[in-house]
Symmetry: D2
């Protein structure tokens, strides 16, 4: 089918390409005219304005918005809402806060414009592997867009079938799921990213423990000096902790076992934060997911005020000087 795509960055561009590869017609727009022209060279119909894009789409229209930033997405959806017609549909494929989706969906419904929120996982690998999609919105509208989702999804591939799913929604095995009403797609994607943080931190701590294992008390020929790149690789085969994130870890460590190319300042997007806020709203304990988020905050602070306050208290009650470095001995004999 024919669909508009707004936002041709890393994600949006590849989504358009995968759709074109799958036989769809894409009308593409971006504030960066070069990006538009570039994709025109790969088979897309260029649109150098929102109006041009809308004019190039048959009613009822479908426009996929793939923009990086909360405010930019909000603005684009707002402008689309003003320009589109009843029965058209706006698809937000970005990482919007699910409560914002609900507000937007409600507002657009007054104009009888539909809103579909799609949580999209797959990163830079999505064009090749396909995108895992978590979709929220009205049933009829999601069904109408099925050809788009079917093309973007990874498909069954060679992933072993899960037993006991025969009576269940077959689309899920293709890699896309209609999660429920507006907002539910981004809600599931939000938790997905919250889990992602937790998984990443679990690996990170484990490898840190292996990396720091010293056994100086042992004779030299019996000391541990474990190759973390090999550890990551061996765990990919038959172990309980095998995963795609481990595959990526093995790749990263094979090329740079000391990870000297990185400084260790780890960004976090909104989803990790909103996941904890959702847990708090629901009174669900989320110790691991919160600890993973806080580790990222901490990675970006040189020394938080909290650390200095600990030092100040220790000085007050014990006259203790600050520690010089990472090493601290404990005094079991």
């Amino acid at each position: 089918m024919r669909i508009g795509v707004i936002g041709l960055g890393r994600m949006g561009g590849n989504i358009a390409r995968r759709l074109i590869d799958g036989g769809h017609e894409c009308v593409v727009h971006d504030v960066d005219a070069k990006a538009v022209d570039g994709l025109a060279g790969e088979g897309a119909t260029p649109a150098h304005s929102l109006e041009e894009l809308i004019a190039a789409l048959p009613a009822p229209r479908a426009v996929w918005v793939m923009l990086p930033e909360g405010k930019i997405t909000a603005e684009a959806v707002k402008r689309l809402g003003e320009a589109l017609s009843p029965d058209d549909v706006i698809i937000d494929g970005g990482n919007t806060f699910y409560k914002d989706d609900i507000d937007r969906g409600t507002a657009l419904l007054e104009k009888r414009i539909h809103y579909v929120d799609v949580g999209t996982s797959g990163g830079v690998w999505g064009r090749e592997r396909g995108y895992c999609m978590m979709i929220g919105g009205e049933k009829e509208v999601v069904d109408r867009l099925d050809p788009i989702f079917a093309t973007l999804a990874p498909g069954v591939g060679d992933i072993p079938k899960t037993k006991g799913r025969d009576s269940r929604d077959a689309r899920v095995e293709q890699g896309y799921m209609h999660c429920g009403p507006t907002g539910s797609g981004h809600f599931v994607k939000m938790v997905h990213n919250g889990i992602e943080y937790g998984l990443m931190q679990a690996y990170a701590e484990g490898f840190d423990i292996i990396k720091n294992k010293a056994s100086h008390q042992l004779p030299e020929d019996r000391r541990f000096d474990i190759d973390v790149a090999d550890v990551a690789e061996v765990w990919r085969r038959g172990s309980v902790v095998s995963s795609w994130l481990l595959d990526l870890t093995a790749s990263a460590l094979a090329g740079d076992p000391g990870l000297d190319g990185f400084e260790g300042r780890v960004a976090d997007s909104g989803e990790g934060r909103w996941t904890i806020e959702a847990a708090i709203e629901e009174a669900v304990p989320a110790d691991v997911l919160a600890a993973a988020l806080f580790a990222r905050f901490r990675s970006r602070a040189d020394h938080p005020f909290s650390d200095r306050l600990l030092s100040a208290m220790r000085f007050q009650f014990g006259g203790h000087k600050e520690a010089a470095g990472p090493e601290e001995k404990k005094t079991k004999t």
Copy 2:
């Protein structure tokens, strides 16, 4: 090659079977004579005593010990150490504490008996999928046992190759790794299990947040009622959180979406605990791995003393009564 296997439980029995399938000769022993006879019917040579087992093996002998319990394994290794001859090798495939390995290896070396510690991951799936093995011990001895490890390992399979590994140890891609001197195999396996706890808890918290999402403030047709079995399935395809543990989660939820077959009392083996102790010894922060361990402790306690103490303090300073149930309202307006 010809090898002895002691301990024919879930793990040991399947290891013997996979070795036999791979063309090796197994002399098998267990305190349970039926287990020995059963495996004899599958091609193993039965041994109804340790002495019988030793007598049936050519020097230098190799004996794989696969016993469940610290003390039982320790006792078996001790008895083997007394009965075996110089240049023989004892392989401990269980979950021994790596510092115990170092002590045992040192003691056995005085008799010139070799000791190899093998961390073995793969669970009940290992016979079919192969076992991921993390091996500690002397190079010559580990090399001598290579045919055994090569058979037990999963092999390359259809897992995509990691780039940049061309100059590295090829055995690792087969699914087994010589991690270093005695103890290092079980050390890596220990951290593996520590990570495993962290990964599991990350998924568990995330699914709990999805499961508990209520949106009662919304009209009925716009409430979230998200199918967690489908979520687990869809994430298997193209998402960042895909993993073998997620595959298992999808299986479990497909059959029993409410997990009503489980009560929620979660055991922990020693490795998760020792991982935190290792982190503490090394002064490595391990917030996620520790939280995952504590969640298991908590799952087995009905109400710890700590909970009651909180209630007692709240009563003291505020006259507060205890909460009635899981629901607590917060009072943002």
Copy 3:
């Protein structure tokens, strides 16, 4: 001075009493007419409606709202805002979310009605010990109310003076602080409660560790059987962990060393939750405060879905049965 007090529960009633004891005139109102009449018997002027209360106060009026619940407080402030006149002031002494304060203050300012948010700590002990108050609002308005705050505050008492404060605001040493503009009082009180949760949980975990110390491997005359009530008492004298919460712990344990009078279901008010949300907004790591909050959530859930999911995964990969009880052995030898 003459002041209105709305809400005569545990907190509001004692605040009125302490004000009357301090020579102020209180016009009191509550939906419960008995509470109003009761306090009239203790020297207050009864008001059986909002209108009556307003009529009994001289302009510019001051009304202290001390109501337990977000919505009830919001409704009372709204009705007061409609009924009061320019230059009157509404004091919210409850536990309102500080962003709601900012919204309310802004709305009331349009009518030139002032709004002061007062975080009030002291619990059931406040009437006797005085209330620690954290105050947000316009300087002139807070100054106008100073006689009220001075009476409610604990005063200097016999608490040792902090060195280096000579040039600082003297009111702070009396136990009340003008924290800044509207909302800042409840913001500081919110973090106060967040810290309170953390402190309580630290004690709770520590006493749990002492309580559970078993030393069964030792001969009977050398086993530990430590009296936690005595531990709490001894720490009150000269130790680094002495605190008011420890005093309360000692009281609780002296009367009921096993805390058998409590079940262990621990409520949480909004402040602990909002503290974590504030930390997340600011990207400040708050591992301890979050863990303390989650421990309360967990205390109210019998077995969260997360626990059952862990059991389900363990069954899937290892055929593991669930644990029977709190005891788990580790297998170091």
Copy 4:
């Protein structure tokens, strides 16, 4: 009574002084002859060797060992054990691991020498405020030393009496407690320090949240700019979080509100670590105490390997660059 004191550092010197002030005779020894002579000038009997110290004490002797380091203490106890006679008693007032106490006590008992472990809290303030003491050892021996403990303890002071303690051990209200057999004193002191870490971290996180509160979205006259030194001071009066650690925090902030005199590298002694190990041995959840310990580890590491691994994974799956600084925006609109 007459007692030997070995180790005249910050703690040992003041203990000797408080004993002398209380009318006891102290025979003092230290490797630093100047420390010995200095204390001789304050009324102690100098001993320039262990032998001299032993010779100057009447049988049965009591020797208080107050040395900073596991190995140094162990060595001193060993030498004393060799030099002392049956019925003499060695008191270890330091921070020895309680399992080491049990081993030492057992070894010394073979020679009929007694061993008493005393956990001593009070820091640099102890000489003036008295020391809170947690004591492990045989009843008769602890009773024999009662005059020493009574002098060192803070005494009842002006701390309000806890109700319901009338039938309980009166020594506890003086600030010292016989916790049980050998090791139990240091066990209780260990948990004390574990709690101390948790309390400190709770305050540290809370003040960090106040310090980092920005409200740039508000007009200038309504922004928060909260004085943390005043917050600490006001909470000392009537609030639920008042404590001795808060008193110290108020002192530190009054002198240096930005804590610019500290870098934020926070040492940890063994007790915090052993507390977590004890929790793990007992299967008691200790999320807050562990998080407090890990925060100290983290404060001493510039960027742990774990941080770099997170960055590496993010680059692998999303092509993400590392974060530039502490600020990260979330994208709720």
